[in-house]
Symmetry: C2
Subunit: 380 residues, 2 copies
Amino acid sequence: MAKKATKKTPVQRGKSKKAARGTTREKIVGLAEAVIGDIGKAENPTIDVPTRTLSNVSFDKRKGIIEMGDAKSERPFFDLGNAKRFMQTMLMSSELLKLQDQLKTTSIRDMFYRCKHTVEGTKEETFNDQDESDPVIEDLEVTLGALREELRIFANPDGAMVGPMTIRDSGDEIDLSRMGSGGWAVPSIVEPDVIQFVKCKAKFILLVEKAAIWSRFNEDRFWEKHGCMLITGRGQPPRGVRRLCFRMAKEHKLPLYVLVDNDPWGYYIYSVVKQGSINLAFESARMAVPQARFIGMSSYDAAEFDIATNLSIRLNDKDVQRAKEIMNYPWFAGRNWQREIKHMLKLGVKLELEALSNKDFSFIADTYVPQKLKKKKWLD
Amino acid sequence: MAKKATKKTPVQRGKSKKAARGTTREKIVGLAEAVIGDIGKAENPTIDVPTRTLSNVSFDKRKGIIEMGDAKSERPFFDLGNAKRFMQTMLMSSELLKLQDQLKTTSIRDMFYRCKHTVEGTKEETFNDQDESDPVIEDLEVTLGALREELRIFANPDGAMVGPMTIRDSGDEIDLSRMGSGGWAVPSIVEPDVIQFVKCKAKFILLVEKAAIWSRFNEDRFWEKHGCMLITGRGQPPRGVRRLCFRMAKEHKLPLYVLVDNDPWGYYIYSVVKQGSINLAFESARMAVPQARFIGMSSYDAAEFDIATNLSIRLNDKDVQRAKEIMNYPWFAGRNWQREIKHMLKLGVKLELEALSNKDFSFIADTYVPQKLKKKKWLD
């Protein structure tokens, strides 16, 4: 039976909502010291892990982001249901400490292999597969209050950026206005110790959902004409791209415009950039950009820009269902958003960015976005 | 009934295996002029399209690449079964000509929207969906003998590169040895008019399947220590990455080493880089790198590098089936390859690159690959 530890461990004490203080290294060591402290006092060593479920997530209207609440669950060592997870958590944190000491970064897949071995004298594996190790990493992120990037764990990198800005990446100075057709590949970890903004002449950021559309804007040198950072995450932007937008928006006060298809999935991509996601609610404060603006496509654009009706695509059942779900999210409760989504449902069609090419290959970069910017036709 | 045109159109005449000569623009215009010529002579305008089926594909042992044969099918205009496809082909080629004239590049999705409209006075659409327009673009590639990139059509870009080389990309000079942790994002189109190699100090190319492993090699500055270009295609390398490897291997005589997981999918990724693929057989001559070497992982590596058995993963039925298929491809007929694949099947397991991290985060970059290179332990 579960034997509950009633006393808070030192690392948890005195930190209500706030995460443990100090550097990431200090946080990891602090967790270990707390456990050692428990053992020294002959107590049941226990880690308090913030709860990562929907019930512990809420939308903070004032801040405009999705946040994790205060609920925690205890993970005591002397407990049949928790002992293995406790061991896994300590093993993982000891390997994470090595990353800190060796100044190396790696992937969650790597961490699985790194931690996997047979427990001496048994036939028990520390981890059977990655489905067991990934949640332990997430537990440690929330318990330590450290972003995955701060733990030196990267996600699959993806995305590209160009624009009037010079950065320093791992010591190399890179002029992002001289990156040709390819652009600078956005790495997964863009924390200030890796990436520094040296010089920034950009006036705003344009985040483009689709890589092909990004290439169109780059080829047309939109970023030069309009003085903006041009970035793509190739679909749902990966963490590196979101965090980079966050940092540019915050450190250089750049407005962020998001350009996606007109469908429920486009709306959702925008909302993750703006408010954060339910799954990663504990990271919203350092990933979400509440000032982000939805520059398009809107369900009103087909009429506004005279796009032939046969270029729209009929909404399927999944689209309609998703649109209705999204309408009920508190962060889409505003009058303008309700109007936007209802109008899409009423028309019964979705519209892709590429449909604008029917007019001209460069209509999107020469006319559509500039006109929207000029007339301030965005949603936020 | 199909009314067969018996005479070759001018664009086809005098070109047996060879594609139409001249610039891409001249090829497109040539096709149109041939059709006009047919009309002027009151003949049934007909396009001969090389056949893109397995039956028209073969492995050229001497060249070491998969090639398309000479079979062609006729596409006459006055033919109920071909008239629409004929119209689509001409419409698409006229839009492709605009790309040439405007010096713009775009996506196949864009081309679909660009060409889609209702035929005047009818309810007939030129194209109903992209499944109709994509094959027309492929038809034109083989008919004109022009790479998709030469038609100024890009695929989704993906991949990153660093190394001791300076390139010029769309006029911007980029030092690939100063690209930080992100690297230069490899664009989809890397033809000589876009990308030029200005200065190259690299001695070989290392193509890494997985982006996360690429990041490990980059963080450890493997490319600097070993003087190599370090490139990833993030899984099956996209066209831009393959074409870039081809150009570097050819223009700078750089050996190409491919690093993939030890499973049938890894073998296959390697073979596509080396011999080309059945689907894109018509592009092998300008995409495949027959000198490419498979540097790992080999099914003998677990023993060779003393990797714990519990880090291997049991082959599933799909893996076994795929391995057997691959063993029968003529380009895997060599003794060493048969031995390699049989050994994997005998062991009954596959092994991921990340398993090497169990020894040390940098084992793969500090020991594994350097040792393989030194001992010339590769397959080709």
